[in-house]
């Protein structure tokens, strides 16, 4: 069996490992579009503050890991897929046949349509190459404008502060991290950042970036202009599906996949940020673009590549954790609430602590928090197990911090 995996992020690497586990005799080729060994973009903020070296970002640490597992890693871009003759074509004109193909090409940052976005000194923070460019410019006392206060913007915020940069964050929407936090939590996070000397401009857009005496002049829609040595754009990501044009693989926001993570083309699967898979709490199909989902996708897709239709999949629970200058925010599932569902909020404004639980009848379906770090994974257990909470719903409504007790009492029946 010839297994080909395009994309060497967490989904692709996890899939290769699962393929090897399940099919010792298979030929496995892992194709990376970047020159480095497979690495984690999530580790880049820690690289920027020298907590780790570049090899600290690698997904697998032991030398010869991939050859030892007979996974053939090739560094080259794929330009087209031809399901008719089961082959993929590379940028150098060569092609490779497959029996089963996994597309795990991830996502790329959206380039906001701003005049001057292509100027030297304007960077995105996505690849190791980007990280090197940012590290070269983000020197102490450099004025940095961060365009976008979403997950990626916030995760690199601390690194920029630790490097001694003077930071201005510009966010188009009305709050920070609008895909994870509601108004209350987003407002708390903004105040937290401002108290640490960061300028946070919400409801503000960048109109134009221009070069001015070796610096960048950033014009905002509020009429102000900021002079910066570095502009970093973090305006969200988009699935890498453009190369699929003409392949007859169905796409929407990402590659449309069924409960086995197979596309509309037999033998072609998708996983991770490029896959528009089922969402556990909504039942709909969405590109979640988070690490736990990528890994889950990789395992499930690989299982079905080896044994067709063997592992059906109820969907991934969307979840995220973010550390912004030491204030930790977490979101799970339907954190924004359910129509007609009950909810409970616990807020300690002065201590930057916030906890919001969302119920759908007897079930917990979502949660978000700020400043809570202990036992928070149990929210996954409570939501995913779909066990009716019974008496524990009222107890959580009375005291939402009793999550572990609710889990042990309801899901595990330990009490």
């Amino acid at each position: 069996m010839l297994h080909v995996v395009i994309g060497a992020g967490p989904a692709g690497v996890t899939a290769c490992e699962m393929l090897r586990d399940l099919d010792a005799a298979a030929r496995i080729t892992l194709i990376s579009g970047e020159p480095e060994p497979p690495y984690s973009r999530m580790a880049i903020p820690y690289l920027l503050v020298n907590d780790i070296k570049e090899d600290g970002t690698y997904l697998r640490k032991s030398e010869n890991y991939f050859p030892d597992h007979q996974i053939d890693v090739q560094h080259i871009s794929v330009t087209a897929i031809n399901p008719e003759d089961k082959s993929i074509r590379f940028e150098d004109g060569n092609s490779l046949d497959y029996d089963r193909l996994l597309i795990a090409t991830g996502a790329s940052p959206i380039q906001p349509p701003i005049q001057g976005i292509e100027l030297p000194g304007v960077h995105q923070c996505w690849t190791l190459d980007d990280a090197r460019a940012i590290a070269a410019r983000a020197l102490p006392d450099t004025s940095v404008v961060l365009v976008g206060a979403g997950f990626i913007g916030c995760i690199i915020l601390e690194a920029l502060v630790k490097r001694g940069c003077q930071l201005t964050v510009v966010e188009r929407e009305d709050r920070m991290v609008p895909r994870m936090l509601d108004n209350t939590a987003g407002g708390l996070l903004k105040r937290w950042c401002e108290n640490q000397g960061i300028t946070v401009l919400t409801n503000t857009a960048v109109n134009q970036i221009a070069e001015k005496k070796n610096k960048l002049s950033v014009s905002l829609d509020n009429g102000n202009t900021i002079t910066a040595g570095l502009v970093i754009t973090a305006a969200g990501v988009r699935s890498n599906i453009d190369f699929l044009t003409g392949s007859n693989i169905d796409t929407d926001q990402g590659i449309l996949v069924n409960q086995y993570l197979q596309s509309n083309q037999e033998g072609i699967f998708a996983a991770g940020d490029v896959a528009q898979g089922r969402d556990f709490t909504t039942g709909g199909f969405a590109v979640q673009a988070v690490q736990p989902t990528a890994v889950e996708h990789g395992r499930i897709a690989a299982t079905n590549m080896v044994k067709p239709d063997s592992l059906s999949y109820p969907g991934s629970l969307n979840m995220n954790v973010l550390d912004t200058l030491g204030l930790i925010s977490i979101s799970f599932g339907q954190w924004m609430g359910n129509a007609d569902g009950d909810s409970v909020v616990l807020l300690d404004d002065a201590q930057y602590r916030y906890l919001n639980l969302q119920f759908d009848g007897e079930y917990l379906t979502g949660a978000s928090s700020l400043g809570h770090t202990q036992h928070m994974g149990v929210l996954r257990g409570l939501i995913r197990s779909r066990v009716p909470l019974g008496i524990w719903k009222k107890r959580l409504m009375d005291d939402p911090t009793r999550l572990m007790e609710a889990y042990l009492g309801s899901v595990q029946s330990l009490v």
């Binding site: 600290g56 997904l59 889950e296 395992r299 592992l311 995220n320 550390d323 996954r380 572990m404 009490v415």
Partner: protein, 159 residues
Amino acid sequence: MQMSLLIDAGKCTGCVQCELACSLENEGIFNPAKSRIRIFTFHYEGRFVPYTCTQCAEAWCMQACPVDAIAYDAATGAKVILEAACVGCKVCTIACPFGTVNYNSDTGKVIKCDLCGGDPECAKACPTEAITYVDADQTGYERMRAWAVKTDAGSTAIA
């Protein structure tokens, strides 16, 4: 013989000796908040339930780690945090559906039970045998494993 922690909540008196022993062994201080095993109190039922990582086969934490910083210890069966590799991204703390991997803000890394390398201090400290370290084939362990499956059935079962 694979050993595992066996917890019999009915025998727990809530004395927190396990938490103190765990904290001392791992952090060098007596601070229950730093313990890898925690006792949860159920006022209405008058019960105490000690709970920590079951070293589940699914190893959600290990799967989710983006930098290969959680390793399987073949000698004990424990999933162990490799401090030098951990960057502190906390993905494992939300991936673990049991809530037993936690962030330690003092070190900027995560902590979880590692079975003390095969000689767990909590079990030795427990005066009532609510926590014992026993042959993993005992039925209690199988029950704990069954819970692990219940938590995320469907996305892990390998046909």
